[in-house]
Symmetry: C2
Subunit: 198 residues, 2 copies
């Protein structure tokens, strides 16, 4: 089950969250895993091997009401999803600051830019100004293809849209402006080796 944010962002609960009644997909293309699952496994792998320390940030919620049942943990009884002010993933790799957003689309020919929020573009722009690495990890779920696009390229397509141009990036453009990552069994999305090339 996917929960929709007020801002249209899809919230997909992680495995540790009992609310997660994930849509099962047994096709080979994504083996039922969300992009978030794949990245969490990849980041865990990097952490265990001491290759990088990169975590997904928690989903921001605005807590309104909390109950304290006796002898049990506090229960949040009223809360709302907030719009995140940054990207979802960040951390450190070999002294470098790494920051990225991960998005998937079922679309087969282009990536719709409405999946990205303006404040995330703004955030990535600030990161780059501080000499951090900012990029987008993109999954075309139906095609089982993964791309990593540095922010500097993403920004070009974003600005084209702001100037009245198309509201998506075509697959051909993505192939040209990104580095493709071949998915593997373990780690699922081995993106660290690609960072050297960005």
């Amino acid at each position: 089950m996917a929960i929709n944010y007020p801002n249209g962002k899809k919230f997909i609960p992680s495995k540790t969250q009992p609310a997660a009644k994930k849509k099962k997909d047994f096709s080979f293309s994504n083996r039922g895993k969300t992009l978030e699952d794949e990245l969490n496994e990849t980041n865990d792998y990097y952490l265990q091997l001491g290759l990088a320390v990169i975590h997904k940030k928690p989903v921001p919620v605005q807590i309104v009401k909390v109950e304290y049942p006796s002898r049990s943990a506090a229960v949040i009884r009223e809360a709302y999803f907030r719009t995140p002010s940054t990207t979802d993933y960040n951390g450190v790799w070999n002294g470098k600051y790494v920051d990225f957003e991960a998005k998937e689309t079922e679309n087969k020919t282009s990536f719709p830019l409405k999946n990205i929020h303006e404040h995330q573009i703004h955030h990535m722009s600030q990161v780059v100004k501080q000499n951090g690495m900012a990029f987008l990890i993109l999954r075309f779920s139906s095609l089982q293809r993964y791309f990593i696009m540095r922010f500097e390229s993403l920004e070009i397509f974003w600005n084209r849209m702001l100037a009245g141009g198309r509201k998506s990036i075509t697959l051909e453009e993505i192939e040209e402006a990104s580095i493709e990552i071949a998915p593997s069994a373990f780690p699922p999305i081995d993106y660290l080796p690609v960072l050297h090339k960005l």
Copy 2:
């Protein structure tokens, strides 16, 4: 109102959260602001001036039940606080990865180490191994004194405790092993200039 995590961590809602019935304190010592307020203001200031991009991570919650009232935003009806797996603050400053935990104590003579969780020590240790900067920002609220202690020093006191030694760091030890930050009106805790000296 402070909400207690199952793990004993204090959760202090931010200003934007309606649940926040903050204990008001009109003494000069902290002007009613929590350490989190002061750091958020400081980080906002750094962000606006393009000096650093450092954010507090959202409080991690495990979402169990969500309702979708018609024509309004999704409401979380059951959720629980989760133990954070990292520190609260991270970001990038001048190409460097910056990661820290912020703690305050009302104690006047020492800082109790029970305020820090083992997984946070573990996380900071991993950050340092990746050549990131990891440190602790400490506020002695009653004394209106602020310290910044690099992880490498904190680890020594932590290991002393593990070896059966004292469960706190005395103020004298903190004065010796940290850099003191003088609070100011704006930004409240100007910690960036101190990082050069760490």
